[in-house]
Chain length 184, copies 2
């Protein structure tokens, strides 16, 4: 099956030429006038995104948000494998959430020595977010999926923070609502 840049553009609300230009940043896909081979395109985009690399992720903080991620987020579809969660609450340490073990946060140093961890999902309170990030960075963690609504920083340029901006998103919604009200 093939798909044209025009069909892809229509689907995404951008121009065919923007599609071709974006793809061209990553090499040669498809053939002029023939469109893209869908399966090859999917494989190639997956490769670009690193979905084929089977990244390992652990969840720091198994409260409601961490729990929700463990239970519902389709990690494998994005090329990630979840190995464990960590928490400080005795009530859940030693339990399993959706088949994944919840370990004590005090075990994190040993865990990181013995296991490959590409990314840590931070689902902990803001009040301990930066200090926990600092600790994890000192133990070698370089990738953070940050849910704390706090802008985390590191002096180490190798550390990558990817933030889930709940507040930015809600403010965007607020703006969109506020600016359609003239019409109501």
């Amino acid at each position: 099956m093939r798909v044209s840049s025009r069909a892809l553009g229509d689907e995404m609300g951008i121009t065919a030429s923007q599609i071709r230009q974006d793809f061209s940043c990553f090499g040669e896909f498809g053939q002029q006038g023939y469109g893209y081979h869908v399966k090859e395109l999917l494989t190639e985009i997956g490769r670009i995104l690193g979905v084929d690399q089977n990244h390992r992720i652990i969840i720091i903080g198994a409260g409601h948000l961490g729990h929700a991620l463990l239970q519902n987020f389709p990690f494998s579809q994005t090329g990630f494998a979840v190995d464990a969660a960590f928490d400080i609450s005795p009530d859940i340490i030693g339990s399993y959430i959706n088949g994944k073990p919840v370990y004590a946060m005090s075990e994190i140093e040993n865990y990181l020595k013995e296991n490959i961890v590409d990314v840590v999902a931070l689902t902990i309170p803001q009040s301990v977010a930066q200090e926990t990030a600092n600790q994890l960075i000192s133990l070698g963690v370089r990738g953070f999926w940050n849910f704390t609504n706090l802008e985390l920083t590191s002096a180490n340029p190798d550390v990558i923070f990817e933030n889930i901006h709940f507040a930015d998103s809600l403010l965007t919604l607020s703006y969109r609502i506020a600016h359609k009200s003239a019409r109501d």
Copy 2:
């Protein structure tokens, strides 16, 4: 206290001229050579974002994710007031989470007749997301803060969907990790 477009730009990693250009979309702020009056700027940005409008929000789905939002998200800082949550689970209907009542989903129609609701946060399973959105739209809801990782649609152009894209965010992180590995 005043702040220059250069200082703001440095803080955000963009140019001073971009800052001035962006602000100019919304009118006249500050004075050439004098920078911006911080308090006025904050008020004005809050007004632009609709933070001053005290939007009302309810949470549809009081599972782990809904619970996490109710418990931890600083709604008031973004100009929203949470009034209630709705769920189908008898275990939590009638309970309170962080002081907010959890009602039965079967009560939603009556609730929407009697209360102003600007935004609904959708923290429900994907499998019921679109049908629930359809139901809420038919009952008059026009703003959705969508956590379902599903692209929701409506034929009604007045309906606004703002999506929290967990998967996009993790894929971005995956990409960033994959493309720094050449350097490691």
